[in-house]
């Protein structure tokens, strides 16, 4: 990566001295563009962070871009947010959905990817077609709704996981990776009398930790951020993931309080405002804090997917 970077633009270390005036201006412009893009990417969440510590009334009255919290500085919003019944239930459910969903998704994806990557799997071609067709054509939400109902999954804990248990896209990423593992390793294990299950778990899996990490994160982030799966199939609020409660607090309540004038708003209305910013921060920060450490895996996933897709 470093090699090509030096080469980019034809500037190598030796002739950097020759950088012309025009080149320098271009560089400055590029840095300015990148800085602006960074600010645009961060600012909305930074705004929420700042607002979550501020006085709700001043935030609503404020018409200029926020840079720092408006006094009086307060944790009041967070105190209310962590006591919010829905947020508590949602957070608990989301954690269990993320853990179970990721484990199941990873396991089944691995099984499928392993099978369709084996040359001696007789129905390999048909199995691939079975999987690929679903990427281009689906029955749509209404038939799926009835299938979920007929299976008795509707409005259960499993309704959030089973219909989206695995993704064809992830399976193909994993299959591409598995196919790159040399056959000789597998043949050696076969000669030792290992069966396919043992080959998957003792030969293929230890060599595939990178792709397993990528897929696990895809499923994990997917479950953390998912909402409409629950919106469609879960009526019972005790089953809702965090995102559904966020929707209720951030979007549904917003519709009803849209027309309210600041001067006539009650104290509870200001509290609700403050809580909004707080729960945006609470629900988003965990992923944003973890993500930079895992960034290279995510990026790798995009690359592996791109080769095939």
């Amino acid at each position: 990566m470093a090699k090509t970077n030096i080469a980019a633009g034809g500037i190598t270390r030796e002739n950097r001295i020759k950088t012309s005036m025009g080149d320098r201006i271009t560089n400055v412009v590029l840095y300015v563009i990148m800085t602006i893009l960074m600010l645009v990417a961060v600012y909305p969440l930074y705004y929420c962070l700042v607002a979550s510590f501020s006085d709700a009334k001043s935030i609503l009255a404020n018409t200029k871009p926020l840079v720092a919290p408006i006094a009086p500085f307060t944790f009041h919003g967070y105190q209310m947010a962590v006591r919010h019944q829905g947020i508590l239930i949602g957070a608990r459910n989301t954690v269990s959905y993320v853990l179970t969903g990721t484990l199941i998704g990873l396991f089944v994806t691995m099984l499928g990817a392993f099978c369709v990557s084996r040359k001696y799997f007789f129905i390999r071609g048909a199995a691939m077609k079975l999987i690929l067709v679903t990427m281009f054509f689906s029955g749509g939400i209404i038939p799926l709704f009835f299938v979920v109902r007929w299976l008795g999954v509707y409005n259960t804990w499993w309704a959030f996981i089973l219909p989206w248990m695995m993704s064809s896209y992830n399976l193909i990423i994993m299959r591409t990776f598995f196919m790159g593992i040399p056959d000789s390793l597998e043949e050696a294990a076969l000669l030792d009398g290992a069966n396919e299950v043992q080959i998957l778990f003792h030969v293929v899996m230890p060599l595939s930790t990178a792709v397993i990490a990528v897929i696990a994160m895809y499923y994990g982030v997917g479950y953390w951020n998912a909402w409409y799966q629950s919106y469609m199939f879960q009526r019972d609020k005790t089953l809702w993931p965090l995102q559904m409660f966020l929707r209720e607090v951030l979007i549904v309540q917003n519709e009803t309080s849209q027309a309210t004038d600041i001067t006539t708003m009650s104290a509870e209305a200001f509290d609700r405002e403050l809580v909004k910013y707080c729960i945006i921060i609470i629900s988003t920060v965990p992923i944003l804090v973890i993500y930079p450490f895992l960034q290279r895996y995510f990026v790798k996933g995009v690359m592996i997917g791109a080769i095939k897709g």
Binding site: L45, Y120, V299
Partner: protein
């Protein structure tokens, strides 16, 4: 034992003459575990993908849940006609195409430009920081992104306030039909600009460095190099992704629009998928909604196949 495992049937005499099912049976006997392992995957696809596909026949029936698929009356193409001659066809097609075209015209070139900018950045450290920061919005959930949009564009919101300087009305912008598409497109670009650039940036860094050296020797400046080396180098990637985009011009997810829109802006915000959701899940017109969805899927497939065929003819790049 080991002979059977390493695909025994291939060595056997008369293998070619055996029919499909005998060969399948041999393979199952040789690798039973493979079939056991594939079973959950098979079951998942059959239950949650192929069963719903079978369920599409309710589009041709007047489906009543109490009577089941079999008990319901066949109505042929009535539901399709109802939609095609109905008042909403043009509005939905216009909005779906409008939003997707906007995403194509603005959302497609921007990540390419951004990747080019990143590639021109001389400080690797700074570039890495820019990348990490601009990828971040991708990980924010749909609900939060839409909530941010709603909060920032209501009458007291920061975007409304900034635009008010330029003479825009100080009201809830999402309730004004004229602005909905623009706001929706901007929101998506904000979230995906950095992330979408990953693939172009990867293509950029894999361009052979000697090409740049040769260009420098020939006296090509920065811009000439970008035009004659960099862009041709990533052209195949651009074409493949463009085919995908054009092939998907008529498909658009319902979830984000569903979070953002309201009855006031249906005129410009209602797309096919949101209409299907509303008709099916809220109004419980199951057959009608399925018919509309099926029509949409059929158009999507035709569009994708024809763009792909066209591209194979013209540019020799295609998806398959």
């Amino acid at each position: 034992m080991s002979q059977v495992k390493t695909n025994g049937p291939a060595i056997r005499k008369g293998y070619k003459e055996k029919n499909y099912f005998l060969r399948l049976f041999d393979n199952i006997k040789a690798h039973p575990w493979l079939y056991i392992m594939f079973f959950p995957v098979f079951a998942y696809y059959v239950l949650f993908h192929y069963w719903p596909m079978y369920g599409i026949i309710i589009a041709f029936k007047d489906f009543k849940p109490m009577m089941g698929i079999f008990g319901s009356q066949w109505v042929g193409l009535d539901k399709f006609k109802e939609f095609i001659y109905g008042p909403y066809l043009w509005r939905l097609v216009r909005n779906t195409l409008g939003i997707n075209l906007g995403m194509l015209i603005f959302g497609f070139p921007l990540p390419i430009l951004f990747a080019l900018v990143l590639n021109e950045c001389r400080s690797i450290k700074f570039r890495k920081v820019v990348q990490t920061v601009t990828y971040m919005p991708h990980f924010v959930s749909s609900v939060v992104v839409c909530a941010l949009m709603i909060i920032f564009t209501r009458s007291t919101g920061i975007i409304t306030n900034i635009l008010a300087y330029f003479g825009m009305p100080k009201t809830n912008l999402l309730s004004i039909p004229r602005y909905f598409k623009t706001l929706y497109i901007c929101m998506n670009i904000w979230q995906e600009l950095g992330w979408d650039s990953i693939i172009f940036f990867a293509a950029l860094t894999s361009i052979d460095a000697s090409l740049y050296e040769a260009a420098t020797v020939d006296g090509a400046g920065r811009w000439q190099q970008m035009w004659h080396v960099t862009l041709p180098g990533i052209a195949p990637t651009i074409i493949i992704l463009l085919i995908l985009r054009i092939g998907n011009l008529m498909s658009l997810g319902w979830d984000r629009i569903h979070l953002l829109y309201s009855e006031m802006v249906y005129e410009t915000a209602d797309v096919i998928s949101t209409y299907v959701y509303r008709m099916g899940m809220t109004r419980m017109q199951y057959s009608y909604a399925t018919a509309v969805g099926l029509l949409n899927s059929a158009i999507n497939i035709i569009l994708l196949l024809s763009t792909n065929a066209l591209s194979r003819k013209v540019t020799e790049s295609s998806l398959w």
